[in-house]
Structures are given as C-alpha cells and as structure tokens.
Assembly symmetry: C2
C-alpha cells in the first residue's frame, strides 16, 4: 500500500472518531449574531485550539473586539498554504421547525443516504473539520503535515465579519501564503466535485427620493405636487434597455468574454436552464438576450432591484402622495468591473433624472469587485485531478453567482488567490431548520483534502 492509500485507509478506519469530534464541535451553540452566545463562540474557538494543538499545530485563540479568531501554524516543509473556515453558525429560529434540538447532533438514515443533522453540520463546522481530520490522518501516518499550513478560523462569518479586515491588515505577514484553501462551498452535484474559480462582486446602493416636506393628500395636491414613487419608477425603468442590458455609461467596462476552454468545460456540466428556473416556478430566462442562463449567473453582471418602498402599501387604500420613496439596488459584478465607477454612474443617472422639486439621498451598502482566480497556477489543476481521483465524476471549474467576501479580502489585502473546494449540497438547508451534511460529504471530503494536500506537496 502506497503512502497515500495508507492515509486514506486511516481516514476510513478513524471515521467514527472523526464524527465524534465533529459532534463535539456541533454541540457548542456558537451563534455569532446573538450576544447571548458570545461565551459559546469563545468555547468553540478554545475547542478548536485544543484540537489543533493536539495535532501538533501551534494554535492560539486571538481575541478581537468581536468573537475570537483561531490561528494555527503547523508543518515543516512543502508549500505554504492558508486554510480558512468559520466556526460560528446562524441562529436556529424558528426552533419548532427542527425535528430535533439543533445543537444535539444525530446521524440519520435518509432515503438519499446517511446525514449528520445539526446547526452548522454543513455551514461551516462539518466542512472545516474535513480539513482538520485530513491533517490528523496524515500526521498519524507520517508524523508530520504535508505542507506548511496556517489555519485561520473566523467566528463572525455569519454576522458580517466586522473584525476580519482589521485582523488581516494587522497580520498580513503571518497570514499571506502562496494560496488560500477555503472550504465553504458546494459540489456541482453528488457525483461531481467542483472548484469555484469565479465569484461575482457586488455594489449595493440605496436611493431615497424626497419630494414634499410631508405626505400629501392626492385630492388636494394631485397634479402639481411631485410624486417620489413616480420619479423613482422612471429612474429604475431607465436602467435596462429592452435587451436586458444595463444602460449606465461604462457599465460593461472590464467585462470579458468567458475563455473558450472554460466555456467548453461549462458546456459539459449539463446545466439545464429549464430545470433550474422551473425549480422556482419560472420558465423564461429574463436576463441579457442571447446569453445562456449559466453564463448570465457566473460571468455576466446584473443590476437588480432588491427592495422598494414608498407611500401606503398595507391593506386597503390611502390616497396619499408620499413625501419619499426608496429603492435598494445592487449590481453583481464580473471580471474587472469597478464597483466605485459603477456606483458613481448610478448616482449620476439618478441626479440627471431628478426633477427640480426632488432631492436624493444615497446610502452605500458595500462594494467589492469580482474575484477571478488565476487558474494557471498549477495548484488548481493538481487539485482538480486529486478530486477526480476521489469522486465518480471529473472535477470542474465552476463560477459562483454570489460573492464570498473572504476571497475578495484575501486578494485585496493579502494579494492571495483562493481555491474554493467544498462538499456541501443544495439540499443541506444551511441557514434553515434541520440543516444537515451528508455523511459522504464528510467522509469523502476528508479523503479529498488528503489527496489535494498530497498533490500540492509534490512540488
């Protein structure tokens, strides 16, 4: 039996013990958004420090103004890698929709296979423990780690990561490695692992249009008085042409074509737009004309309206001319689009269309460019091959329509690419009652990291 096989078989034999350790972590209710659980977040951090120490890492709890970070260093040779995960979890309400207490993990037999059921089973305790357990098995066989590994566990991912940027900035040298490994994403399907290499950025903006100094009666003022809802509707309606393209000047600056090789790989995924849209009661792709739905999600920008409010929208009817109307607008960004330029173009459009009697107020709600990994780093092909060895299907490079802020921050602050490998599934019910993680995800996830670390360690 070769070295790799020995480690993999160690994983298999130790699975029950690995599960027992995961259950220990899952039992800690580390809900980061609720101050009542601050002590539990600290306990989860301490628990991880203990585990990592036992694995030969030099591990520390690092306190922040919020919940602590865990930082651990281990390994004497091989590539320098950073692994990131988060130990905090979402709240559990509504509790009565859970089939069992959310912090009393159980193994459950389901028609689709055995699952680990608990809050955090998938997001992100189960996923981060796949990496920890891979390190453990490797060390058990080799007495050391396959690489010089730094681990960063965050405790505020589910509550906006307020301490993250200052922490990265204060610890740049310590945390900057050749590549960040992040385990917080999913597989393409149950057979096909994926490495997410493109994430869309985001520019969020709130527009408040104000007219009269108070709500008016439409009988007394309807006609001469400016109506902020009408002004807002005109502005929003101006933002897309009839081909679904965004009309802001310069909006598409920095948008690139999908490289042919990547487009060809996406073609093999068998993405079914009808099934995708059908799952949410839709049937007609509504985005830019002529662009396939999968490209619309992964590689094209959007300008969406996430919320709108003005006047009286409750039961019944009030003939009010509202003093103000507001909309939340966000753009998903791709490739090299500049969120700041796009925010400026949006504000300029609003100001241009503002009638003399209205005022506008803007509120910035975050911005980050898209994250596109440099997949010509050989690490990506190595990891893809390693994953293909473990799972029935070839691993694919996928995109992600959303943003994973940590990847943008690693790029921006530490100048480091991220490799996103995860084993979650669409049906894991993360953030919802009855969250679960497939036992297969956990088991083969550990084995996957063993293979990836093995491949990366081979120079």
């Amino acid at each position: 039996m070769g070295d790799l096989d020995t480690v993999l078989s160690t994983v298999d034999q130790g699975l029950d013990a690995s599960l027992e350790r995961l259950f220990g972590l899952l039992r800690i209710p580390s809900i980061s958004t609720d101050p009542a659980y601050a002590g539990d977040c600290r306990s989860a951090a301490d628990w991880l420090v203990g585990e990592l120490d036992a694995l030969g890492f030099q591990a520390e709890r690092r306190d922040t103004p919020g919940h602590p970070m865990v930082v651990a260093h281990g390994g004497e040779a091989g590539p320098e890698l950073l692994f990131y995960g988060h130990y905090d979890v979402q709240p559990v309400d509504p509790l009565d929709l859970w089939d069992q207490p959310p912090f009393e993990p159980v193994l459950e037999d389901r028609p689709e296979g055995r699952v680990i059921r608990a809050r955090g089973a998938s997001d992100d305790k189960g996923q981060l423990m796949t990496f920890v357990e891979a390190c453990r098995a490797w060390r058990e066989v080799h007495g050391t780690l396959p690489a010089r590994i730094t681990i960063l566990f965050e405790g505020e991912e589910e509550s906006g990561s307020p301490s993250l940027v200052p922490f990265l900035e204060a610890n740049k040298t310590e945390l900057t490695k050749s590549l960040a490994l992040v385990c917080d994403t999913g597989m393409w399907n149950r057979e096909t692992p994926s490495i997410c290499t493109m994430l869309r950025g985001l520019m969020g903006e709130e527009i408040v249009i104000r007219g009269a100094s108070r709500d008016l009666h439409s009988g007394g003022y309807g006609g001469p008085a400016a109506n902020p809802i009408r002004v807002l509707a005109k502005i929003l309606a101006s933002l897309h042409d009839d081909q679904g393209r965004v009309t802001l000047p310069g909006f598409y600056d920095g948008v690139r074509d999908v490289p042919e090789a990547l487009a060809a790989q996406w073609e093999t995924l068998g993405f079914d737009p009808a099934a995708f849209l059908g799952g949410v009661g839709l049937s007609h792709p509504a985005g830019e004309a002529g662009i396939p739905a999968l490209h619309q999600i992964w590689a094209r920008p959007t300008c969406e309206f996430n919320g709108i409010a003005g006047g009286y929208a409750g039961d019944g009817f009030k003939t009010v001319l509202p003093a103000e109307a507001r909309a939340k607008v966000s753009c998903r960004l791709v490739w090299d689009q500049d969120p700041h330029a796009i925010r400026a173009a949006l504000r300029e459009r609003v100001r241009e269309m503002l009638p003399p009697d209205c005022e506008v107020e803007f509120h910035e709600h975050g911005s980050g460019p898209a994250t596109v990994m440099t997949t010509d780093d050989p690490a990506f092909e190595k990891a893809r091959a390693a994953l293909g060895d473990e799972w029935p299907g070839e691993a694919v490079f996928t995109g992600g329509g959303g943003s994973i802020p940590i990847c943008g921050l690693f790029k921006e602050i530490l100048g480091m690419d991220s490799m996103l490998v995860g084993f979650a599934h669409e049906d894991d019910r993360i953030h919802s009652p009855n969250e679960k993680y497939d036992l297969t995800s956990f088991h083969k996830g550990i084995r996957s990291w063993v293979r990836i670390l093995d491949a990366l360690s081979r120079g």
Copy 2:
C-alpha cells in the same frame, strides 16, 4: 327690523346657548371606526334625534347593520331640501399630542381669534350644528321652518360609509329632494366663502406582479430570474409622457375645457401656486405642462402612485430577488371620464407589458366619476349672493381636487345635485390632534344658513 334681521339677531343673542348645545354633542366620543365606541355613536344619534324633535322635526334614529342614521322631516311650505352631515368623528390617537382631552370641548383664545377646540369641532359636528342652529333661530322667530327640510345625519362617514348606499337605495323616495345641502367643506379664505361645484372622481387599483414562487438570492438567480420590481417600475414609468400627460389610450375621453366664465372667476381668487407649493416644501408644478396649478387640481385628471412595496426595504441590505412587488395606483377623474373604462385601460397596459414569466393580480379599490354640479339651477346664485351678504368677500364657485363620495352617491342614486357650503379652514387640523373650529365659522356659519334658507325660500 326685517324678518331676516330678526332671525340673525336671534342667532347672535342665542350664540352662548348654541355653543352649549354643540359642546353637548362634542362630549360624545362617537368614533365610528372603533367598535368600542358603538354605544357612543348610538348616543350621538339619539342626542340629535332629541334636538331635532325639540325643533319640531319628526326625527328618528334609523338603525343599520353599522351605526345608525338620523332622519328628520320638518317644515310645511317652500322648496324641498335635503341637508346632510355626519355625527361620527375620527379616532384621537396620538392622545399625548392633544393639549386637552379631545372630548372635553373648550373655548380658547388664539392670536387669530377664538376657537372651539375638540375632536369633531370642525369635522363635522360644528359644521352640521350651524344648520341645526339656523333652523332653531328661524323657528324661534317664525314658528316654522323656511322650507320643507329633510335632514340626514350619517354615523359612518369616517369609516367608509358601508351602510350608506343600501340606505339611500332603500329610502329613495323619502330622501330625494330638489337639492342637497352639504356642510362638510371649507371657505376659500377667512374673508371669502365658497360653494364647491366640481369634485374630482377616483379610480383606485392595486397591481400585484408575481415572478418566482419564492424570494430568490440575487447571487444564485440574478440574471435569468424575472424581477417583479423591475417589471413594475417599467409599467409605472410608462404611464406618463414627458409632458406629464397620462398615456393610457382613451384616458382623456370626457375631459372638458373649463367654461370661460368659471375660469374667469377662478382667476379672481388670487391663487398663488408658489405659496401653495411652498407650504409643503415644493416649488415647481409637476403636473401637465402648460396647465395652471389650480386647474391641475380642480379640473384635470391625474394618475398617481400612492404606494409601492417589494423585496426588502428595511434597515441594511438583503440581496433578495423578490417573488412579488405591488403598487397602489389611483386616478383622479374630472368631468365625464369613465372610471370603468380607465380601469380597463390600465389593466390592459399592465397585461401588455407583462413578461412571460410574471403573473398579475388586480385589486379594485373603489371608483366614482367626478361630480360636477348643474350651477345654472338658480339656487346656486341665490346662495352665492346670500353668502356674500354675510361675509366680507364675494362668495366664489370653487372646485375640489378630492372626492366627497356623498355628492356622487346623491347624484347617482337619487339623481340630485349637492350644494357644498362649509365654513372650515385649512388650519382646523381635522383628523389630527387639537382639532378646532373658529368661533367665527360657527357663528357666521349659522347666520349664513339663515340667509341661504331665506334666499332659497323666496321661490
């Protein structure tokens, strides 16, 4: 002293007693919208029956499924007139903004003169009592009434008048007279009384646009998924052209030019658009280009957006693609515009613009045509002259931008025009804390009705 002067002087001498009676009515908390006050509404009706009986009317409380009506008949000769008022009042919240308990009326000396302060002082108990007290003074002098008068007092005007239509329909013969007198409006200014002869109609509609079967994440679906806010904004934005005109086909059918004589009278009012708009923080008339603001309010139709909602509009930001968005739209209508044809045209527009993946639901929220009085009935000129005798300024025929549903119903169900004469002022704070009625409005209001009844009774 002529007969008329004797009656007027009786009004003057009896003012304290008139006030005492008004205070008696104001002390009854007849809030129609709150079931807790149902007994008080009944008490107010009984109180009025008692007063009218004492004045020689044959008065009755007529029960309805809601709050009772009061119907009274009096007088043996002269024209047949119906007088309408309402004894119910608005709720008093927020109570802590009142300077005194709302149902403990007081006389208060203010820089602008003496005022009666209480809920309902102006709307409509003070106003309806001007007519009752005019009848009382007339009867005191003449032993009878100046006309064959039917009084109808409603107790549900502030809560949507649910019993009114069935009541009018069931009592057509009893209630149909040559003219309805309605005292629920205001003066043009403190010197100038007015008779409102044109009221705009209303067509209210709620539009609900539905897309996906649930709210979606804009990362996962932004691009291919239809966004109901975007669809709604496009539809609303299509409803006006850049001259502020409504673009629905047939919308202006039935809209007439303001007759020259009436336009000339309006010209004399000295309406100051800058002051009017400035009072609510505006400065640029926003309605149809080239139409004076006063004409926009009284004689031109509108299409307004009274409320809009969709997605997440609270604090912070959620990148949600909402499953639905809704807007409340209302058109103020003039002259012979047909609310049903306009509702149909609006729905047709929405359906035309609806993309394949969206559905629409419509909710009808009332409709009534404009009410334009036949002012060539000599009663209008007689009343105008009578008002001019009482007040410093000539009385004017004005329009009203809002709807007073009772006038439309009298026209529609009883085939009867209404003459709207009232003595309220803009600063009466009706529906708000610290409602008041000028003592001058009450006193000279009573005298005005004496003069009007005198004029109408002279064949």
